[in-house]
Symmetry: C2
Subunit: 787 residues, 2 copies
Amino acid sequence: MGNRLPPLFRDISFHAQHSPIGAFASFTCGQFGSRGGFGLEIGKPGNQNIYIGIKSGDRSSNGPVKVLPFFEGASSNEAGRYDVERAAGPAEAHTTPKFPTYQPSEIRRHYGWATDAWKTDDFEFAIYTPFLQIPDLHRTSVGEWDRALIPAIYATLTVDNTRGTTSKTAFFAMQFAEAGVRMIPTIDDSSSGSSLGSTDDSIRCGFAFRRKFGISARCIDSQRNHDLDPRHEPSAHPIDGRPFGFNRFDLESGIKDPVPHQLGSVPGIGITVPPGQSRTLAIGIGFFFEGIATTGLEGDYFYSRAYRSLEHVLDSALSNIQHAIDAAHHLDEKLLRSTLSADQQFLIAHATRSYHGSTQLLDVGGEPYWIVNEGEYCMLNTLDLSVDQVFWELDQHPWVVKNLLDNFVRHYSYVDQIKVPKASAIQLMGKQAVDSPDVMNTPRTLGTTIGIEHYDIRPGGISFCHDQGIHNNFSPQGRSSYELPDLVGCFSHMSGEELCNWILIAAVYVARTGDLEWARANEHIIEACRTSLRNRADDSGIIVYDSLRCQSGSEITTYDSLDHSLAQTRSNLYMAVKAWASLRGLLHLRQSLGHADASDASKSIIDQAQRAARTVVKHANPDGVIPAVFEAENPGHASRILPAVEGLLYPQFWNEDVRNTAPELVKILKHHTLALLKDPQQRNLFPDGGLRLSSTSANSWMSKIAIFQHVCRSVLGLEADPEIKSIFDRADAAHVGWMLHPISAYWACSDQFVDGIARGSKYYPRIISSALWMREHAVHLQPTTCN
Amino acid sequence: MGNRLPPLFRDISFHAQHSPIGAFASFTCGQFGSRGGFGLEIGKPGNQNIYIGIKSGDRSSNGPVKVLPFFEGASSNEAGRYDVERAAGPAEAHTTPKFPTYQPSEIRRHYGWATDAWKTDDFEFAIYTPFLQIPDLHRTSVGEWDRALIPAIYATLTVDNTRGTTSKTAFFAMQFAEAGVRMIPTIDDSSSGSSLGSTDDSIRCGFAFRRKFGISARCIDSQRNHDLDPRHEPSAHPIDGRPFGFNRFDLESGIKDPVPHQLGSVPGIGITVPPGQSRTLAIGIGFFFEGIATTGLEGDYFYSRAYRSLEHVLDSALSNIQHAIDAAHHLDEKLLRSTLSADQQFLIAHATRSYHGSTQLLDVGGEPYWIVNEGEYCMLNTLDLSVDQVFWELDQHPWVVKNLLDNFVRHYSYVDQIKVPKASAIQLMGKQAVDSPDVMNTPRTLGTTIGIEHYDIRPGGISFCHDQGIHNNFSPQGRSSYELPDLVGCFSHMSGEELCNWILIAAVYVARTGDLEWARANEHIIEACRTSLRNRADDSGIIVYDSLRCQSGSEITTYDSLDHSLAQTRSNLYMAVKAWASLRGLLHLRQSLGHADASDASKSIIDQAQRAARTVVKHANPDGVIPAVFEAENPGHASRILPAVEGLLYPQFWNEDVRNTAPELVKILKHHTLALLKDPQQRNLFPDGGLRLSSTSANSWMSKIAIFQHVCRSVLGLEADPEIKSIFDRADAAHVGWMLHPISAYWACSDQFVDGIARGSKYYPRIISSALWMREHAVHLQPTTCN
């Protein structure tokens, strides 16, 4: 039950995205008054009311029920009884159940890395989401990965009635808005059949929604013979203590009526615990998607190599539940022992869940295909997310990074041309920037496009698509779902940044794994990347030319809906340092392949990197702050951005000490960062102390803040400064507050916050970049394996 | 374009459920201001806005668009421009398209048996749903049924711009509320490739939603060289006249922008027709469900034996479209030529579509499995619907009736006991009736249940479940999804009526097909039915004992939410005549099997039938009207019901002249019917002239009205009475009005009307019983075959 986890001390009403790995599936719950439950391939919380609670007396009694407030209409602000929306489904359902809910003060929530537990005086309910290492699926057999990839999570519902004087009936039920609920036939595993009768532990029951998801429960850990209050006799009802399934149009009828109705929309499972006894229901919560799940590239879920049906998943989950709980406790302990602050631990635990909810491991043509979906947007393998998630993936299952790199090369790379502006274009380019207030992901053609007659067209080189498709629909080869021509702003191309992203992922992958076989096989790609990055730069060494794919538009960065400070790729501080890091990454890759730094190609890389570093340094203002955009007439020139330092992160993965290889760059970036953090005007802080990535925007990205903080501490050594530590501690607390804001809290873990409220990039995987913080505390990041 | 169909003369704003056969799929459209479109396995209209219309000028022009009002927010009552709800999907979609719609006065709708066409001065749009005979799938190969079972329907969009002076761009687009839209890659079939260039007719383009449904279009019937106004030159734009696909967040951007956005939620196809030319876009509208679709019994769609993917379906539909249009016109002609009134033709055409939308032909374990879903409720093969649909099915593809009978025997039959009331029960039984106002399908335990201690338990016999499951979830063997114990009213058991239903279906099947092989193989079932029907009756010959499956409740009839007049099975007039017909059916089956009427078993059947007939006759009041319920203290005793005569329908299928075999019964029922129809108080009419099945209820079922009218004409010969003809003509007009009421019209064709508005049993298959009327006009009902 996650007993060792301390209770949360802040607002406990927030959704958590409980997910297996690779199933693009979640069971979301925890925000009071909100629907949640099962979500399969939808990028948002499910649409079910969840009723977890207790009825006084046995199931047939007229005793009251009392439930956790996990349903629409359950307000945490009023005591007592609530109307519940009429369930969808046959028009027969006119019931209006009303029942009391536990008040927040009556609930304690314990939120660990892999355990999410609610405790009341009547019962404990806990959900376990242990995440195990997925071994390289090219090299392992089913028995080595089936536990890691089971599309199920686990729960327990415990009623300790050893001191009670009457029976208590515990239940877990859900109200479905869509039609298709069914009972899973109750199975009695007792080998002796009816002659000796079944035991509490031999009965499995559950319910499902069509073939897609459902739950199965069985009693474990029943205590009859010890801890009993001697006043109580064993129950007179022989079926007490055995789990049962139910289904009616409303919760109370379902609990009470022994005959499930297949037309019902509120299925559930329950157990009556006689006085003097204690029971724990083990609950498997499973998902199953049969057949081909995607278009374009056609893949089915890799787990279907081991699991044949939803029922198979649920049976396996119930068989495996003790291992799963142990693994969850092990992970809880690991995070607890990290010495990270409670706020930091919360953010990591929250991020880990939402990351897993977006993961999708397919079998495409017999080969594994790793996908991380882009949260609410469900874009497949958005490459500018991948680069931020790679640290986590390299710790957990590094082969998925290789899989990603290969799939981008094979299916989603392209060779473009670039646009070299004529004088006429240069005059127009300052006005091309998006000069707008924060734009909430609105399509932006607000800036000025510049006809391609103002450009000379020259060879560009290889680059990579922003993503590989959306909503299970793979894009055509060499095309993302996101990028369009003729735009300035959102939905334009990201050729320059995605090129850097692929290089950086490749470099950290080879550095972390030593996989020279892969590096050798991809040397021609690495070389093509070098050429491409060179062609996109001028003497400044940084990317200054836009891809012809933009046509009259211009390239943007991953901060597609922030403001002008981080909107354009060209002559952008964030991109300049990232390009510098990419050049260092290319050099590292060449070193790994045995190429001397004195070789012509390596020399050209070193030279471009030095020029890029000098370009950054030279643009620093007299006060040491570097403009976000180097183009003087661009509105971004006045912006002050924290992500300037992001590129300093990567070299540490190949053991490069940037203080030695780029001392001037590091020095000016440290100066810049300190100036921004300690700015008397606090232009890079929100009023609550949260970090503002751009001084001119109310938009901030949690995943990028996490990287920024990590670079500050682990590369720039700023943690030694008590003032910085205090700023960061206060920021961590603010960021937790952002997640817990009632609007944000519906979406579990989100990335894009406007004035501290999740407004975009919701239900998002990328905040797993926060797990970088564990490195600072020398947490042994060895993943938990199946064995 | 269904040119020979006259335009509708009444309200043209109603949904029609355009469906292939056996795919449990519909493309619903036609009600102004409502969503519709694709619905797969949902029992209700789809959730898309549909934009069909014209833009002045070519696609890049700034000309206005004008669309049919097939989208939410398009009111037919105001001219001009409307706000359209923001599409769901990525948060980027903030656009608020506004465009003018055609007013009702600008639209003519032509609604034939298999063509539904809208004509404006600018274009014509027509949907074709030809229904072909499905050959016995046990005995035919794929090539003999693939056209009949293709999960697609067909449409054309024609712009005749031969007299125009500017280009017109026609389009068909949809706005999806759910995420997962994709473009189908444009295919150019021109064998010569780019050297000779593609032609208008060689290009196919389309869009889809994931792998589930979509459309594909190609140009046919382009007229360039004749009918041209000599003033016009061919278009200067070489791509004019070729179909194109698009996809953006809003319609107008999509039409205008040549680059589709994979993030868009408004995909479409279009074609620009230069002045002086005419074009027709052929459109395939397809569905595809991959893999196992059901639980319990596991089946996939039979069509997947011939079609491998949605794209395969769409390609095949486009290849087949001319045949399909020809078949649709053939069917239109057949109904037009029937000499049925326009109102009757409308009801049949409307019913045919909704029937097909509920059909689902599966492959279960290698064998075909025929299912008709129960409209909005999606119950599988509700047997009390099957018995009303059997006439149609026997005309179209009689083998599905055998399939249904067999599957009920194999999976959904049971043997019960019956409850013989002791004196103590008889005292209570009058109060057991549901005495309530019309209950809108509300769960009813309103009546008084009677403990089984008041009964003697005796052998019952074989009967059949109410249904086989719900929402693709098959029920456990021998159990329906609907029936529950301990109820009086809705959701109670229908053992008696379903027994009669199986007998009647078997009898008409054998009579119609002469399939003695089947009859012989099932003689033991027929014999078991005889025993069962005998055991449920007392000396009265009619069903008076309830099944023990009811426990403390009592059996109900298919009129589960009408009132007391048709609620209970026991001692019910409707059931008495139905049981009499079932006995005659058993006798016919025995005759077919060569058993003499003088055999003991046949004698016992004849005897029971005579007793049943006498029971009905004897309960007639002095005025010749027979009470709905024979129990004097039952509130139904005062009700006057039209369905009393329903049972007279079946014997005509085995060529029995009931005027000879049961003259007294026929005489009293004719008297009863005339008394009700000509009642000076008009208790069995609604104020609009519609027929009221029970004098005491505002609930009326259209499918049952159709059967009643048919019996009146074809068995009782009442059509010779001009007063009756006038009443029926007025009733037909009223019933059309019921369907067209704005609340009803959303649900296409519905069955259960309360005061003339569809309130239950919506989107329903059963009204196909109206096709019985074609028999009265000697319409050659030979189905249209694939060849």
